[in-house]
Chain length 333, copies 2
């Protein structure tokens, strides 16, 4: 049995080139006592992966050169040896990385129920992106009913859930996304009050038109100019959640928000978050979000591509904006 792996072979500068990774195929070694062989089915593609490739220490250590590319995965236990934490045919989510098979004692993996939700959902709305949205908007922003919420990357895996939760909580929600398709999706399918197409519209003018009263909460997935537009339109006591900055991840020189003194004038705050800090509350969040999904209040969309060999092409879609919802790569049938 062969395991095809994607190995990080050099640290990229800017947008990664194809030679950032190499494929390696090796035989799957026999299991030891207590180990399980997981056949990985889906790999999660997330903007955060770009940060993990840098040498600088972030909230988790960098991926080492020569290591399998780190990624969230969902897969099935196909073989066990001795007493193991999970059983044959269990489905597990964890940090399996971009490879077809993983041998593990189960540490860091959680069992999921394929009969309750599609497997890809456990990488999306019930996975780290959905949980990031949930804790970001409810805990970090401490959202209150009736507030005006702006979210960027609004059609993405995190942003789309942020906006829908804000609607569930009785807020006015404006999304920023690239292209008419995405904006139509936000308004017509997800119930956003307004959507701004940053590729074809002026964010400044559309903010003035759609929320002349200003913004109470800005959930930032993109950074750059968009963050400055949000800062220029804050209400008193506004909160900005810094969840990501996809416009900056491939820049060698990050652009800082020149309007940051709006925080002073408006007694506003800008706060960073990392979802791992909420691990003890994941289960209750998943229960709540599953309930909303059943009630039809929380819709999800996964953009699933096929084949480990297509990793690079699909990875680029994270930064080109050429996707809708959660980006997933199918690794095994």
């Amino acid at each position: 049995m062969k395991n095809k792996q994607l190995i990080l072979v050099k640290r990229p500068k800017g947008l990664p080139e194809p030679d950032t990774w190499e494929y390696k195929t090796e035989a799957v070694v026999p299991l030891q006592e207590g180990q399980m062989l997981v056949e990985q089915q889906f790999v999660s593609l997330d903007p955060a992966m770009r940060g993990w490739m840098n040498e600088t220490r972030s909230y988790i250590p960098p991926i080492k050169i020569g290591e399998v590319m780190r990624a969230g995965t969902v897969g099935k236990v196909v073989e066990t040896k001795g007493t193991t934490r999970y059983n044959k045919d269990d489905y597990l989510v964890g940090w399996g990385g971009v490879q077809q098979y993983v041998i593990t004692n189960g540490g860091g993996y959680q069992k999921v129920a394929p009969e309750l939700a599609d497997l890809t959902t456990y990488l999306g709305v019930l996975g780290l992106t959905g949980l990031t949205a949930y804790f970001g908007i409810l805990e970090v922003a401490a959202l209150k009913k009736g507030e005006v919420v702006l979210v960027s990357g609004a059609a993405g895996a995190v942003g789309s859930v942020v906006g829908q939760i804000a609607k569930i909580k009785g807020c006015k929600v404006i999304g920023i996304a690239g292209g008419k398709n995405k904006c139509d999706y936000l308004k017509n399918e997800l119930g956003f009050d307004a959507a701004i197409d940053y590729k074809n519209e002026s964010i400044r003018k559309e903010l003035k038109r759609n929320c002349p009263e200003g913004i109470d909460v800005y959930f930032d997935n993109v950074g750059g100019e968009t963050l400055d537009h949000a800062l220029a339109n804050l209400r008193i006591n506004a909160r900005i959640v810094i969840c990501g900055a996809i416009s900056q991840y491939n820049s060698q020189q990050v652009v800082g928000p020149k309007n940051y003194l709006s925080l002073l004038v408006n007694r506003a705050s800008m706060k960073g978050m990392v979802v791992f800090d909420y691990e003890s509350q994941y289960d209750q969040a998943r229960i709540q979000m599953s309930k909303w999904m059943k009630e039809g209040k929380l819709k999800t969309k996964e953009d699933v591509y096929d084949g480990i060999d297509n990793f690079y092409e699909v990875f680029l879609k994270l930064f080109s904006g050429d996707k809708l919802g959660k980006l997933v790569l199918k690794i095994n049938k």
Copy 2:
């Protein structure tokens, strides 16, 4: 009786030129029923004055062209007519502006006790700068014992009080100031644990040397590069208080903090403040700070210059860094 006034005659770009203001002298008109004539003695000079001169609305409206230059003042009631809120010979603090006399019904003025503290103290540590320091470090930063505190503009009216309160609360305190004199003052007179002379030392290197463990609270009075150095050295759950940005007030293009993503990695926050929000708690803060002053734990320094005609020259000291402590202009004897 003549009243000499300083009038704002044009909106400056960058550092104000002398022709930004004009002097005007007019006769003091007779009092009406309920009015008092206040002979102003001291005018407070604060970096915030630069912001009020811009046309854009901030946390208070801009000073209008043709109006007396707005400033905090302390003065003495020299004449009253009928039933008045305060009595002859009372000392009042308020927003008298840069002029020798003010006629008022007392709205917005508070009575102070010259026998308890020097009059200039009511513009400094017991005035808005001291109160800004008090609420900024204790309420906005929610300082905890044993934390590492960095403060910029540390020898200034706000920064020097921030650092001393942090010492009183059992913290490690590092100040950033310009020049050896100021740094010696911070270490030897105010009890700071360390002081970084940004004019002659590398902030980056000195931060690594003096607080290799990182920063829990950064109290920012200056913005610019210094804010970026602080961001690069945050600990988990750090708080940045945005109180001012004196390095940027005369820039036509504010430089944003390019290291702001450190907020994300460190789950840190950056929060703006305006002291006026704490008005209901001013009295209790003044009582606490007077107590610390009596105990010798809170020292103050005012840099007092003489003569309304010298306003421009003294105003420039706000931005040249050529001062120690609170900057005050004596207007009448």
